[in-house]
């Protein structure tokens, strides 16, 4: 059967691709589009390693059909850094808020979305927001602290 033709925007750039009806967004990102920053952990929406944004909202790309990207604004971890790393990325490096790194792209995408809508989250809010991002290395504490510290830095920079 003929493939579906999809026109979308990924990290601000127009992008077209062909996919099968049942193919997930994650498969297309990691396969034909070569954007391997999004990881497949569970494939069932439990771990958050495949987190991307669709029109600014975080979703698990393993639970989205690639065909659904038609006309949408997609954001992936590859679009997070500009000329310099995003403050969250820099803070994660400085505070060793990662070990194996598989969960990190998803955690960063989710944390960025949180800080965009809530620049001053409580620890409780950070923990609940990131409850869909599983990490088997860090025990979460360094991740939570890095997000809180970045939020404080960004608030300071904004003043």
């Amino acid at each position: 059967m003929a493939k579906l033709h999809v026109s979308t925007t990924i990290n601000g750039e127009p992008q077209e691709f062909l996919c099968d009806a049942e193919q997930s967004m994650l498969d297309v990102l990691r396969g034909p589009l070569g954007l391997t920053g999004s990881k497949e952990g569970c494939g069932t929406g439990d771990c958050g390693a495949c987190t991307i944004t669709v029109n600014g909202r975080i979703v698990c790309s393993c639970l989205m059909l690639a065909a659904e990207a038609e006309g949408q604004q997609i954001g992936t971890i590859e679009g997070m850094a500009g000329e310099e790393l995003h403050p969250l990325q820099q803070k994660f490096l400085e505070s060793a808020a990662l070990q194996c790194g598989i969960c990190t792209p998803g955690v960063l995408m989710a944390a960025k979305a949180l800080l965009e809508q809530n620049p001053d989250p409580t620890e409780h809010e950070v923990r609940f927001w990131l409850a869909g991002n599983l990490c088997r290395c860090t025990g979460y504490d360094k991740i939570i602290r890095a997000v809180m510290d970045t939020a404080a830095d960004m608030r300071g920079a904004a003043r």
Partner: protein
């Protein structure tokens, strides 16, 4: 096998496409958080996927006056939460829907999908039952309405005719002093499936409960409307005796299974405990207790 994907812009087109799919092979895609997992696990192998998120009526929240709302079946939990007034009038419906999964899941998962997945443990369903939600359904033979508690038939099975699509939920107008609440029991704090879920919607007038509805989840093959529990609350001041009677009615309505999440005895007891707590939260929100 070849799978077709269509994303129609109108409900009529969606109904036609869904009805045209070879017998039983069509699947409606709303948030996809159940459907894609089921496809991956080989539980379902659709011949056609009908994505309903491009249809305006299915993705809109409308206020119908006096606290009434019409919620499109494909509205995500995140959009429900962000609505400026829905949480004020129907906090129980919103908190129940928002208990489903993580932030990422909330960006996609929908009350329509939660209902049509047919799980007895779907969190939004008992709250919708308590709210007295009416489901608008459209199919090849036109449009009809069904009380939300009449939609589930059993685990994974619905009282929908072939080709019918759930379009929206209608929440009725609210009199003053009304509110609702939803509580669920899970063995951890987040990201789990209800052992028992309880929704209560009520009206308090001068300290007396004048109207109530109770929905119970995860204690029977379908979500239950527990009319005996509501009767025990109505006319009372939600005193301990009335709450105990309503709790007993909830426990009596339970026909649960034993599984790794909870035993029959445990679920039956917890159903009563949750009723008391949920009713008091709803009453406090209504300003009456």
């Amino acid at each position: 096998m070849d799978i077709q994907y269509v994303a129609p812009k109108t409900l009529d087109e969606a109904v036609r496409a869904f009805a045209a799919a070879a017998a039983g092979s069509g699947r409606i895609l709303a948030g996809g958080t159940d459907l894609l997992v089921q496809m991956r696990n080989g539980v379902v192998a659709p011949g056609m996927i009908v994505d309903i998120k491009k249809i305006g009526e299915l993705t809109a929240i409308e206020e119908t006056g006096e606290g009434g709302f019409r919620i499109g079946a494909a509205v995500s939990g995140a959009v429900l939460r962000e609505h400026p007034r829905l949480s004020k009038v129907w906090p129980g419906v919103v908190e129940a829907t928002n208990l489903i999964g993580s932030t990422q899941i909330q960006g996609r998962a929908t009350p329509g999908g939660n209902l049509c997945n047919g799980s007895p443990a779907g969190d939004s369903v008992p709250a919708m039952v308590a709210a007295g939600a009416i489901v608008i359904i459209q199919g090849p033979n036109g449009r009809r309405e069904l009380a939300v508690e009449k939609v589930p038939k059993g685990p994974g099975r619905l009282n929908l005719e072939p080709g019918e699509i759930v379009v929206a939920f209608t929440l009725p107008p609210r009199s003053k002093g009304s509110s609702d609440a939803y509580l669920r029991m899970i063995p951890r704090t987040e990201m789990d499936i209800a052992v028992v879920g309880c929704g209560v919607s009520l009206t308090i007038d001068k300290g007396t409960c004048t109207a109530a509805r109770v929905g119970l989840g995860a204690v029977a093959p379908t979500v239950l409307l527990v009319e005996e529990a509501a009767k025990a609350l109505i006319g009372s001041t939600l005193d301990e005796a009335a709450l105990a009677k309503a709790a007993a009615a909830c426990s009596a309505a339970c026909r649960p299974i034993d599984d790794k999440r909870g035993t029959i005895a445990y679920r039956t007891k917890v159903a009563g405990v949750l009723l008391k707590r949920t009713a008091l939260i709803a009453a406090e929100r209504a300003g009456g207790k």
